[in-house]
Symmetry: C2
Subunit: 412 residues, 2 copies
């Protein structure tokens, strides 16, 4: 219920090899209805007081002809006449309290307007055939009061890839960054300036053609909704327990597991509930007879089409190559099997495992249940995080909040 984007995982093996991986966001679910998960830092929702707006773009025809691209110069802003009061940042929760934009007249006239329902014909293709994709990103406020986005170009690039894969229209990345920048700036009073707080942004595109035939949607809606969010771990890290999942398969070669499509999420909820019923907060998705670990490595499973092209994953790998490699670390993108991981654990070579993602940046893992037996992930009993996860979080936050000037941070 609470976490729009979820940690991707990484791990480090002692000796000379390091490992860092990401896990798809849907596999770190909110599990709102599962009281049996005390170790999972679920933040409960409270009443929303933020001004609600959304941003949208509705092309007349998608995929059949190249639509007119997004033109930020034509932006229309309809401000709410009933603005919401600010929320005490200490009460912020992750994922609710929307602040949004919307627009209804094609790529040509983007608008920012008060949050409101979408009114759609029940035959609209988004309800029947899964024509939907999204992104997750955040706006941060630095000490000088500037609003900053973190690597928005990466999100826009992936958003376009996801849209194109399901025959939805693409758009100019710079134009949408421009619009999101104006949206975030307009709503800057909802971005708390404390470390750990931010404005979560959810760009979403849906097919809106009214038809029960299966084909490329002739129309689409692009909207951005937003929500002020607090720290993923308000009281510090809390390492989680995973269950290695081989009875269900999330993604496969030639499939769409590397795209941020709605289609990849709903099918993961049932395995998530099964893992939860046995006391595990998350699934670790295995794949194939080799049971390759496709997630949770700093080596990280390569981008072979079965995992998402995570922005945080990419950032961690880049920082590791820049800052850990000189210390003697080896940064690898290679497959690793669950058996090899268990062996490393048994031999005491497994230092730490952590997830990575926009929501938590990093999420340490204490144990993985594999074939019914726990695989210890290297944390000491009193520890909730390993050293690499902690350092990564510090490095990335310093960039996100502008304490360190870096070209990944886009000043609005």
């Amino acid at each position: 219920m609470i976490r729009p984007l979820l940690p991707r995982c990484a791990r480090a093996l002692r000796a000379t090899s390091t490992a860092a991986a990401r896990r798809p966001s849907h596999a770190l679910p909110a599990l709102p209805a599962l009281p049996a998960l005390p170790a999972l830092p679920i933040l409960s929702a409270s009443a929303s007081h933020a001004a609600r707006r959304m941003y949208s773009i509705q092309p007349e025809a998608a995929s059949t002809a190249k639509p007119v691209d997004v033109d930020p110069s034509k932006l229309v802003i309809h401000k709410t006449t009933n603005p919401k009061s600010l929320v005490d940042p200490s009460t912020l929760i992750f994922g609710r309290n929307f602040t949004e934009w919307t627009q209804t007249e094609g790529w040509r006239t983007p608008t920012i307007q008060p949050y409101q329902n979408l009114s759609l014909d029940p035959a609209t293709c988004v309800f029947h055939y899964g024509f939907e994709c999204f992104e997750g990103m955040k706006a941060y406020k630095d000490k000088a009061g500037n609003v900053r986005l973190f690597r928005p170009d990466k999100n826009m690039e992936r958003f376009n890839k996801s849209a194109a894969r399901i025959a939805l229209p693409t758009f100019s990345p710079s134009a949408l960054i421009d619009l999101i920048t104006r949206f975030a700036t307009l709503e800057e009073r909802f971005i708390p300036d404390q470390r750990g707080y931010s404005l979560y942004l959810r760009p979403t595109m849906i097919g809106t053609q009214k038809t029960l035939g299966v084909g490329p949607p002739g129309s689409a809606l692009l909207f951005v909704i937003a929500s002020p969010v607090g720290p993923y771990y308000p009281t510090g890290f809390k390492a989680i327990a995973l269950e290695a999942t081989d009875y269900a398969v999330r993604a496969w070669p030639g499939g769409v597991g590397d795209k941020k499509l709605g289609a990849n999420y709903a099918p993961c909820v049932l395995p998530q509930l099964e893992a939860a019923s046995r006391g595990f907060q998350q699934n670790l998705w295995l794949f194939g007879p080799e049971q390759y670990v496709t997630e949770k490595e700093l080596i990280t499973h390569p981008l072979d089409g079965t995992i998402l092209e995570g922005v945080t994953r990419d950032s961690i790998l880049s920082l590791a190559r820049e800052r850990l490699a000189p210390e003697g670390w080896r940064i690898s993108e290679r497959k690793i099997t669950m058996a090899a991981l268990a062996e490393a654990s048994a031999e005491g070579r497994l230092m730490e495992i952590f997830g990575a993602g926009t929501a938590a940046i990093v999420s340490p893992v204490r144990t993985i249940s594999w074939k019914g037996k726990p695989v210890d992930c290297g944390l000491k009993e009193h520890e909730e995080s390993g050293e690499i996860a902690l350092r990564m979080k510090g490095w990335i936050e310093a960039i996100q909040y502008g304490d360190e000037e870096h070209d990944w941070s886009h000043v609005c």
Copy 2:
């Protein structure tokens, strides 16, 4: 744009083995925007004149507690005050012209009311995570004027399986059949009594919880929309050309390819457009290094989790066992590779291939493009259908329209 449900394919090998298979509906797309497909019987949409209603059920909480089941005795009917005029059956098109029901107050109070838009918060989980599943079925009118459904119990069984797989609530199959019966009876004037015409019904369930967290939806909406439809092949069969697809993979063991989820459809549109760009009307989905044919066999690929549990597929297999087996046919559900199929074709053992599904019942195939080369599917130049496809269509229509009394036909 036009075909809610699409043919599944079947084929027959000469000698002693027969083959019958189904193909998932999304792989027989409407391709509305592709003028280069003269062989595809695309029926264009016209203005709708049918009364529009929809039926829906909205539980307060799904998956967390067993919801009160559908209670047809509480049905509320809100008739439109502005009924549509009837359409000349000869002008009917497949897939538009909705006649629907809707309801907004939980499983407890199903309603039939005029067709109208759904108003949903942009953070509703159906827009982000693919919480959606559906069914396709038809109501027929027999010579005595009775309204008939074809094997609705099979559709309800599959609908519940699909819903449960993505953590949506299930319902009493008999209660929903009861409600659909009342809906179809109420709208019986929109069901033409000619052979080939019917009322297409689209039961749909979507997750409606407002949350960006990924978890089991706490609320859902079940609605049924309908549309009068004409014959899939108004001027008789027109055999189609397929392209064997191995660069994209539709389904995987352990995945959800056997469920009727929105998630399975959008990812198939791009490969469909690619095949269309080379002049093929449909994709034949291959799977794995063996390139097993997972579709279009009367043997039919077995129900191993990668293909949909097709109602027409099941009906064809049953009729084949009952009526073809005594004639010396062998009815098999087994895997067959594309190579074996090409070999049978080269050796003149391939008699015919046809798809099967609710929309067309059967859909004959003339050729399959495999590795860039055509595999002839056994039809003579002047033929648009093989003998088995023709006989199957006749047998099934006789049951659907009540010419032959059969327990598959549910009299409303």
